[in-house]
Assembly symmetry: C2
Homo-oligomer: 293 residues x 2
């Protein structure tokens, strides 16, 4: 069985796109506040944007809020993506944006919920509980995870930016003062997470969430995790700058970065055209980058 990221890369090639279409049926965007309306909102978006979708990313929160009916709607939406994929003859990965994180048998239940009950191919997870909380999700290489690393929100710095001391760093001596000895070198916590993820990724099924709103952080994470795919929210409604983000985060092969967009596409008069335009904009930037190498 192919790994999750081999599967994703096949789809990226098929549709020449790095766009991940977010399916966020935010209640204010719905014709009425019901699970049925949330489902229809997503089904319409899937139909209109599937040609340009390297992946679809439904966010569980906007379904959960409708209780059991919301979960039925979420399952319907994931099934519809499968049908659309079959129709097109190119499988589109479903990334469940759930940001789960729990331990032991609880983590196993979440993995089963995402991958078996719902039929998603990948899930977003919090790394805060450590590797054993990730294990149940990465046992099968064809199922993937994106670990939160550096998120796009203003408060992300509260934990993610704290400087942490790396155990194995050598003591360094300052040139201009023989009397001062510094301790081990420090990196932001998000960089520590990136390094852990790079190490843990033995089955080609771990990626990182790195906000496209943080260009410097994206550069640091790319250095720390040269091989990993990033899910990079913040382009579009959240105001990230597309070109700087791509330059900071794309791998040398012109891949490795999936750009989730939701409201800027969903609220467009013609979501399909908005998606096509953004896809082409990304391709143009990527071509100019590869051309300059």
């Amino acid at each position: 069985m192919e790994s999750f990221f081999t599967f994703l890369e096949k789809r990226v090639d098929d549709c020449s796109s790095l766009l991940c279409i977010g399916l966020d049926p935010y209640v204010n965007d719905l014709s009425e506040p019901t699970a049925a309306s949330a489902r229809d909102f997503c089904l319409n978006l899937v139909k209109q944007t599937s040609r340009y979708a390297a992946a679809f990313k439904p966010n569980t929160a906007f379904f959960e809020v409708f209780g059991a009916d919301g979960w039925t709607a979420l399952k319907d939406v994931i099934d519809a993506i499968q049908e659309e994929s079959n129709r097109m003859g190119s499988m589109i990965p479903v990334i469940l944006d759930a940001k789960r994180g729990d331990i032991a048998s609880t983590a196993e239940a979440y993995a089963k919920s995402a991958f078996e009950t719902l039929g998603a191919h990948c899930i977003t997870l919090s790394p805060y509980l450590g590797k054993d909380s990730i294990e149940p999700f990465i046992q099968k290489s064809e199922k993937g995870v994106f670990l939160l690393c550096k998120t796009s929100n203003p408060g992300s710095g509260d934990l993610q930016d704290v400087m942490v001391t790396m155990d194995n760093s050598p003591l360094t001596m300052e040139d201009n003062s023989s009397s001062i000895v510094h301790g081990p070198s420090s990196v932001p916590l998000y960089e520590h997470v990136a390094k852990l993820a790079q190490t843990w990724n033995t089955k080609n099924n771990i990626g990182l969430v790195v906000g496209a709103t943080h260009i410097d952080a994206t550069k640091r994470v790319r250095l720390a995790a040269p091989d990993l795919w990033f899910l990079a929210p913040g382009v579009g409604a959240q105001g990230g700058e597309l070109e700087s983000a791509l330059k900071a985060g794309l791998r040398k092969d012109g891949k490795g970065m999936l750009l989730p967009v939701s409201r800027s596409i969903a609220r467009a008069e013609k979501p399909g055209i908005a998606a096509a335009e953004l896809r082409d904009q990304i391709l143009a930037i990527r071509s100019s980058m590869i051309g300059h190498r």
Copy 2:
């Protein structure tokens, strides 16, 4: 309206208990692998243990795994706790063990899902995304959160134990060597989280998850967050030592620590008696501690 922890403390007084009964309908413990069976498992546990329950804690994972039917079962269980509370004339708080964590309108949707759709009083959250991801859950003082701080699992150290440099720490000079200057002092990440939570807790509705399996960490967190309630899993099936844990974590008023137990109670021949015995054991240890002050 009273704050969440005032509400919890009232219940703690009413039932003279610090036990939080976990409602974890783990599939292997069910008579059959269905949502109906999960619901019945929980309803039975609620009925048998309610007299000794300072709170009930259903874990969403074990319901989600059954899809929409699981969410209906979860809602039924929370409603049943409400009915049992009315019957006893003492409200029992419901802590939704969901370990959610997301930003902006997504966090708002999760808060609405937990507190309005499901009717829980409190939720467990990951702190990794920072304060703005917590805000939507703590706006109303009567609704509470427990933030993951130091969890009970073996892998918790991967992130939670990394040493972080506190910005505002003064440089310290070692007494026995005038030539060495240390950098700012370091604390484990979980202690940084505890300090943040203590600062953020302006409405008496933020607590911390601190595994009873980590006695030294519990002591450090108690020093860093002297006022906060801990949700301290690990007593019972996870092997935490009750007496050491209580000594490390209880506040001076003999409160401040809620002890979640699930399998050791649920798998007992008579869950009500098992709960009563554990409740009494905790009370005895607490009395001896207060007696020695």
